[in-house]
Structure formats: C-alpha cells, structure tokens
C-alpha cells in the first residue's frame, strides 16, 4: 500500500463519501444534528470558526424533546448520541464496509449493530424482530456490512446471521426446513432438544429489497440481552420460576466446563 503523498485535511476530505481508497471509513460533513451510535466515531474536524462538534447523550436535557420525537427505541438509548455542530466527522465500524443510503418517504429495517448514524430528519423505531431497528421517513443513514452488501428480491429465505436488513417488504417470518427436521439425526436431535440453527431461516415474501452480508463472527450482542430483559416484565410468576430454573441449569453447565 502506498501512503497518500499529503495527509488528509478538511479541504481534501470528501464531504459525504468514503475516505478515498478506503471502504472502511466514511467522512460525513456535519452541519446540524446527526444521531450516531457510540464508539463509531474515529476522528473529527470542527469547521473553522465554529463552536466545534458536541456529542451529547440522548438523555441530555438540552435535546430531550427533540430526541423523544425522533428516537423511540428505549432499549438502545444508551448506545446512541447526538452529534451537533459543524465540521467533518469520520466514522468506522470493526473494519466493515460502510455505505450511505438515502431513504425517501420509505421504511427500512436494519440490524442494530450495523446502523452507524442517521439524519435527524429520519425517525427510528424498534423493530418487532429482536435486534433490529426500523428507520422511517426521508433522509440519509450510514450502515456497515461484512463485505459489500448484496441486494436481493423476495421471495428469498435468509440465514438470520447473514441478514443486514430489509426495505419496503413485510417483516419476515420463520421458515423451518422440513427436510432437515425429518432427517434421521434431525429427529433424534429434536428429541434431545439439540438444534443446529441451520434449519431455521427468515422467510421474506412480498415486494421490496432484502440486504445481505457474509455471516458475521458471533459476537456478544448486548442488545439481545436488553431485549430479553425488557420481556421479563411480561412474564407471570410461573414463567419467572421456569426461567430461573433454565438459567440455573445453564449456569451450572457453564461452570462445569
């Protein structure tokens, strides 16, 4: 790799594009407000003569009213900040490819960990599918993917790990592969409560676009935990005792290893 002959500065950085020759970093020209996932900012230049860029938590008193209107995903509030001011903002995410998308009076649902930032003109809501967030309205957003994103049209069935998101089509349903389940060992596995995960797919139907990536490394998903936590409230006494015993047995199994 050859180094650029001159380092970048605010004048040579692109206004709203990937950093030249680098899919993994994106430069966003900020003038106003932008919702951003924490930990995705790698550098920034305040615009000359401006007050610079401020990063405020969503709970900050100065922006609460504005946030309440735009951000209705209570599980994720701690992972997001609002960047306001003027300047150039450089974003990156685990060495994933970063792309900018424009939404016009549309809706698009994305894996929560793959959404980096979105315009304050868009509205964010929690999807019914755990771990996914829905953007509604008009504006641009930044998303990351392991390798380039593949756009596919329904009908298509997708491995849950390979799903980046979907636009305009109805939310997916689960599809269970009959051939897998009825196979000799599949049946034995079913009896033993052993599921490989491969027999379960997301089934997309209707008109729209599905976004795919090569499957991710398994990472601890803090959002999943939050989702589960939030659903514990809906359980009755019997459900709670059952859950407790499940967790107990899992814990003792982990400790024995």
């Amino acid at each position: 790799m050859t180094l650029p002959s001159t380092p970048f500065n605010p004048a040579t950085l692109p206004d709203n594009d990937n950093v030249p020759g680098n899919h993994y970093a994106y430069c966003r020209k900020l003038d106003g407000q932008l919702f951003m996932q924490t930990g995705r900012m790698i550098a920034y230049y305040p615009a000359p003569g401006s007050a610079g860029i401020r990063f405020e938590p969503l709970s900050s008193a100065t922006i609460t009213g504005f946030v309440a209107e735009r951000f209705s995903a209570p599980l994720y509030t701690r992972d997001w900040v609002v960047a306001s001011g003027a300047g150039h903002l450089l974003l990156g995410d685990r060495g994933y490819d970063i792309n900018s998308y424009t939404l016009e009076e549309g809706n698009l649902t994305l894996r929560a960990s793959n959404l980096l930032a979105f315009d304050s003109t868009l509205e964010l809501k929690q999807s019914i599918v755990p771990g996914f967030l829905t953007l509604i309205g008009t504006g641009t957003f930044l998303a990351s993917s392991s390798g380039p994103v593949i756009f596919a049209e329904p009908p298509i069935r997708v491995d849950p790990q390979a799903l980046v998101g979907w636009a305009d089509c109805p939310s997916p349903s689960h599809h269970f592969d009959a051939r897998w389940m009825t196979g000799f060992l599949g049946m034995a596995g079913g009896v033993l409560g052993m599921v490989s995960g491969e027999e379960r797919q997301f089934d997309f139907t209707g008109a729209g676009t599905v976004l795919l990536q090569s499957s991710e490394h398994a990472v601890d998903d803090p959002h999943l935990l939050k989702q589960l936590e939030s659903q514990v409230n809906t359980l009755a006494m019997s459900g709670l005792t059952r859950l407790q015993s499940v967790i107990q047995s899992r814990l003792s199994a982990e400790q024995r290893r």
């Binding site: 392991s146 390798g147 380039p148 593949i150 596919a152 009908p155 298509i156 069935r157 997708v158 491995d159 390979a162 592969d177 009959a178 051939r179 897998w180 196979g183 060992l185 599949g186 490989s196 995960g197 491969e198 027999e199 599905v210 795919l212 990536q213 090569s214 499957s215 991710e216 490394h217």
Partner: protein, 217 residues
C-alpha cells in the same frame, strides 16, 4: 460455471435436480426457489470413511442442498475463492477451509506426504493440518475460504515454490509438499527470522496461499 462470485466474501450456486451442492454447515446465507437442506453424516467410504475422518480430525459437518433454486454461500465474513476443477488434477485442501463444492466431486481423506513418519508429523504440526487432508477429484467447482483472499502461485517442475505453512490453503495438480526445516542456532536462542519451517512444493500445479498466517477456527 457452477459457482458465481458475488463479492469477495460471497458466492452463489445454482441448484437443480441432479446438481446438488455440498457445503459446510452454517455456510448458507440465503436462497431463492425451492431448496431444502439436510445434514450429511457419512463421508465417502461409508462408516469406515467416517471413522477415518473422525480419527484424522478431518471431520467438518457438511450439508447437502437439494431442489431447484439459487443458494448464496459465505462463512463468518471470511474471503471465499472459487477453484474450478477440470478433472485432470485433484485439489488438496484442509476440510475446514471448504465452504461448498459440487456434489458430483469425489472427496477422499488422504494421508499426507510420502512416508509420513516424523516428517509427516512435523508437517501436520506446523501447518496445523493434522496428518490428513481432504482431496477432491472430478469436474466441478469448489469454494474455499481464507483470511484476506487467496493468491494462486504456480509450481513448475525443477523450480520448487516454498510457502509459509500457516499461509498455505491448498494445492491443485501433482504437487508434493515437503517440510523444510531451515532452522539454525539463531532459532534455538529465540533470535530466528520466525520463518524456520517452510513448505517446499515441487512438481507441477498451483498452490493457493492466503494473505495471512491466521488459521480457520
């Protein structure tokens, strides 16, 4: 061509009756059409082959895609390379590097290296491969994964090619791999180049090398 490269990390394959595709379990990303997946338990050679595989550590759970449609394959965000086999030469590859291949290809587990013995053992130990490797014969396509993509390096007779064991992915053709110990007293005192153990490939064919010294987990 049976497989199509969608992007550096994803390949797609058409599946039709009589044109099944074998793949590593968990490598299916998506599919269109009416395709079903079922686990494959016995490798080639029936139970004996399976036992051989288990002993060899060359056992990676595979599944077969049947029906008609298009399937997308990829694994853990690793790079995927398509290798076309024309039937004249076999591909030797570590089983856990296989993403998918045409079901028409014959796969066998072979003992590595002539004579085996200490040399083979050393080679297995240094390349992390164990003493056995998977060989694919016939006409068809194979999708192999690597860190950062593969480079095809030609091996010509009389002109041996040497590769780092950790960067070795697989090879096609009549190629013999030998471990060469290039160690000196420097290695013994921990001041070596870190490249003391090398794989010397001789014969004629192609060796595939990845741009990293990381193994597949």
């Amino acid at each position: 061509m049976a497989f199509e490269q969608i992007n550096p990390k994803v390949v797609s394959s058409a599946v039709a009756p009589g044109r099944e595709v074998l793949s590593r379990r968990g490598s299916m990303l998506a599919y269109t059409g009416d395709v079903g997946f079922s686990p494959v338990h016995t490798g080639p050679g029936g139970i004996g082959g399976l036992a051989g595989r288990a002993v060899a550590g060359e056992h990676v759970s595979m599944m077969v895609a049947q029906g008609s449609g298009t399937v997308y394959y990829g694994f853990a965000g690793l790079y995927v390379t398509i290798i076309e086999l024309d039937g004249t030469a076999a591909l030797s590859v570590e089983a856990d590097r296989l993403v998918a291949h045409d079901a028409a290809l014959q796969s066998t587990v072979v003992f590595l290296g002539e004579g085996g013995g200490l040399r083979g053992m050393v080679r297995g130990a240094v390349s992390g491969q164990g003493l056995f490797t998977t060989q694919l014969h016939g006409v068809g396509s194979v999708a192999v994964m690597s860190h950062g993509g593969t480079i095809a390096v030609p091996v010509r007779s009389g002109e041996p090619t040497t590769v780092d064991p950790q960067a070795y992915v697989g090879h096609v053709g009549s190629v013999e791999a030998k471990v060469s110990l290039n160690a000196s007293w420097r290695d013994a005192v921990g001041r070596g180049s870190g490249e003391a153990v090398q794989l010397k490939m001789s014969g004629s064919g192609t060796v595939y090398v990845q741009a990293s010294e990381q193994k597949i987990r």
